[in-house]
């Protein structure tokens, strides 16, 4: 309904006169901001007179606009040479305020762009600091675990089993689904080239060894990172911002023993169990392909059992204990590090998942190298 503000610009011997009329509100200013700015810039004269006699309404946006125009750089002399005429006295305070709040680059202070080197250095420092907290936390955790193992009565078994159920039993379907599909797809893809050599049955060896040594533990760990590390971080993070952790502490209870230890113990217990399940289901997935190629199940079974050794199996399972500790600890640490604010829990959750997947990858690599040199 309301018309955008009108403006006219006249330039005469070093003086530009800008006449504005109409409503200088948020909408109106938005409509003319760019055009006026360009027109004034084009005039290139050192003195700008802004005539606001025809303006019948102005709000903060209008004031900001005027202040912006006054400060446009006309060969660096704008400030002294610009002047505002005819503003209704009711609106002068707005303009004064706008001029006061103008140009404070300060707020960007902390966000000011760093040079690449500076930023990289900062990132490295942050990373090292993070790693340090992580390591000292894990140390504290292991200490707490060992000392609670000396007095197993002090472990909160109720909570631990609840966590084990939520992280373990409830994860069976998804772990099963993923392992089955990975087993199936891998067998299927492998069967095609192997068939060319008439060696389809050896797909069983491939599936068996790959699942037991790598894929079973990895799939399980990644599912747990997505399911449990995030859940732990969210639970503990929410308790943190709600001051519930402080409340626990003041009540004379140790949050590590109360919140973290049950989660770590639970996950350390269920990861290997879930992995055994994942191994079985993954191999089963492979079996489906072999069966469909016309081999009897017993042939597949024999092939797997004769090829995969107990060493392979144990190697995979031992890894899982470490994965379990890492995933649970990461979830808990990220939850514990939650800062104040409502978006903080979301951030912690994301960080928990990312960090635990990175750690899983790193430790999987370390184990591969270790096993290689140990000849496992």
């Amino acid at each position: 309904m309301s018309q955008p503000p009108q403006f006219t610009i006249t330039t005469a011997t070093n003086i530009t006169t800008l006449c504005l009329s109409g409503r200088l509100d948020t909408k109106g200013v938005a409509a003319v901001w760019q055009r006026v700015t360009i027109a004034v810039g084009r005039a290139k004269s050192p003195t700008l007179i802004i005539n606001l006699g025809e303006v019948d309404y102005m709000d903060m946006a209008g004031a900001a606009f005027i202040s912006h125009l006054k400060n446009l750089d006309h060969n660096g002399t704008a400030k002294e040479r610009s002047q505002v005429n005819g503003l209704k006295s009711a609106y002068t305070p707005l303009l004064v305020l706008a001029e006061k709040t103008d140009i404070k680059p300060a707020i960007t202070n902390h966000l000011s762009p760093h040079s690449f080197v500076e930023q990289t250095g900062k990132n490295v420092a942050d990373f090292l600091y993070d790693a340090k907290t992580f390591i000292s936390f894990i140390g504290e955790l292991i200490f707490a675990m060992v000392s609670s193992l000396k007095a197993p009565k002090n472990i909160r078994w109720g909570e631990t089993f609840l966590m084990a159920e939520r992280a373990g039993v409830d994860a069976l379907p998804i772990v099963g689904l993923i392992s089955f599909i990975v087993g199936l797809v891998m067998a299927f893809q492998a069967a095609i080239p192997m068939k060319m050599f008439g060696a389809e049955l050896y797909v069983a060896n491939l599936i068996g060894i790959a699942t037991v040594r790598e894929l079973g533990p990895l799939m399980t760990a990644i599912v747990l990172a997505g399911r449990s590390a995030s859940a732990f971080a969210a639970e503990i993070g929410t308790m943190k911002i709600n001051e519930e952790i402080d409340a626990l502490t003041v009540m004379g209870m140790d949050p590590v023993k109360f919140l973290i230890l049950p989660r770590v113990i639970a996950l350390t217990m269920v990861t290997p169990l879930l992995t055994i399940f994942a191994n079985l289901v993954g191999i089963l997935g492979g079996a489906v392909v072999i069966l469909s190629l016309g081999y009897p199940l017993v042939a597949y079974y024999n092939q797997v059992v004769n090829f995969v050794t107990w060493q392979d199996f144990t190697g995979g399972i031992i890894k899982c204990f470490v994965f379990g500790v890492l995933i649970a600890a990461t979830g808990c640490i990220r939850g514990y590090q939650t800062q104040m604010g409502s978006s903080a829990v979301g951030q912690s959750t994301t960080r928990a998942v990312v960090s635990s997947i990175v750690l899983i990858a790193v430790f999987d690599g370390i184990f591969s190298i270790m096993y290689y040199y140990m000849g496992v």
Partner: protein, 261 residues
């Protein structure tokens, strides 16, 4: 009961507590007054051992909490109760379990005794009958009272209250004030109340400590504070925007404040 000596706490560049010295007398209600950001919660966190100060000591019944080992600290904590600013109820437990929680963890009391104790405490805060509700179902004033019931369930010798009445309507405020006063007079519980509510402070305080950006600018009884000649104190208790405590800060302060929030 509690003696704070030369306490310094910094967060990065912010000096939250600047070399504080103060005492909290046994069986008295001491109110720490101060605007937001003046370091009240920080002081409470140091006194309860939730955080470590950069320097200084907090003597609780003669023992320095700062240098105490974990076991002693936890021992002392059993004598403390705390009502948090947001009540800090455990959201996954109902009201009964929230209050019973410390009992279950610290004692081997039989279930029916726990039931009696919890009912008694709920009665004291006037919330009998809410046992089976969840914290999310209660109003702000009610959660504070449940928080208080939980804080007193172990019969502490001292209770810390972090802004017990902020964000409450006048009647709930009155209820909380009366509870604080009653707990103090009837059960002789020492109380440390952090607040910026002047009226409620004058109603309950035996002693007032006024904190201003990490410094104590005044301390004394209600009358002493009311009659104080200190301009900053006057400004604070009368709630005047103009005065020695500036509303318009320097740009730098303003920035700091913006970034802090």
């Amino acid at each position: 009961m509690i003696r704070v000596e030369n306490l310094v706490k910094k967060y990065g560049n912010i000096v939250a507590l600047n070399n504080l010295n103060c005492r909290f007398e046994e069986e008295k209600i001491t109110v720490i007054l101060g605007g937001s950001g003046s370091g009240k919660s920080t002081l409470l966190r140091q006194m309860t051992g939730l955080e470590r100060p950069d320097r200084g000591s907090v003597y609780f019944d003669g023992m320095d909490l700062i240098s105490a080992n974990k076991k002693n600290l936890y021992q002392k904590r059993k004598k403390m109760g705390m009502l948090f600013q947001g009540s800090a109820l455990f959201n996954y437990l109902n009201i009964f379990e929230n209050i019973a929680f410390p009992l279950r963890e610290h004692t081997k009391i039989a279930e029916n005794v726990i039931k009696t104790i919890v009912t008694m405490k709920l009665e004291m805060v006037g919330l009998r009958g809410t046992e089976n509700l969840m914290p999310a179902q209660l109003s702000g004033g009610m959660t504070k009272r449940v928080g208080l019931a939980r804080a007193i369930v172990m019969d502490p010798k001292i209770i810390f209250y972090d802004e017990p009445t902020s964000g409450l309507d006048p009647i709930s405020t009155g209820v909380i004030d009366k509870l604080i006063k009653d707990l103090n007079t009837k059960l002789n519980i020492t109380s440390v109340v952090v607040s910026h509510d002047i009226e409620s402070c004058f109603r309950i305080a035996d002693k007032i400590i006024i904190l201003f950006y990490g410094d104590i600018i005044a301390e004394g009884t209600v009358d002493e504070i009311k009659n104080s000649e200190d301009l900053r104190v006057k400004q604070f208790i009368n709630g005047e925007p103009e005065g020695p405590i500036p509303f318009t800060r320097t740009d730098k302060d303003y920035l700091d404040e913006l970034l802090m929030e």
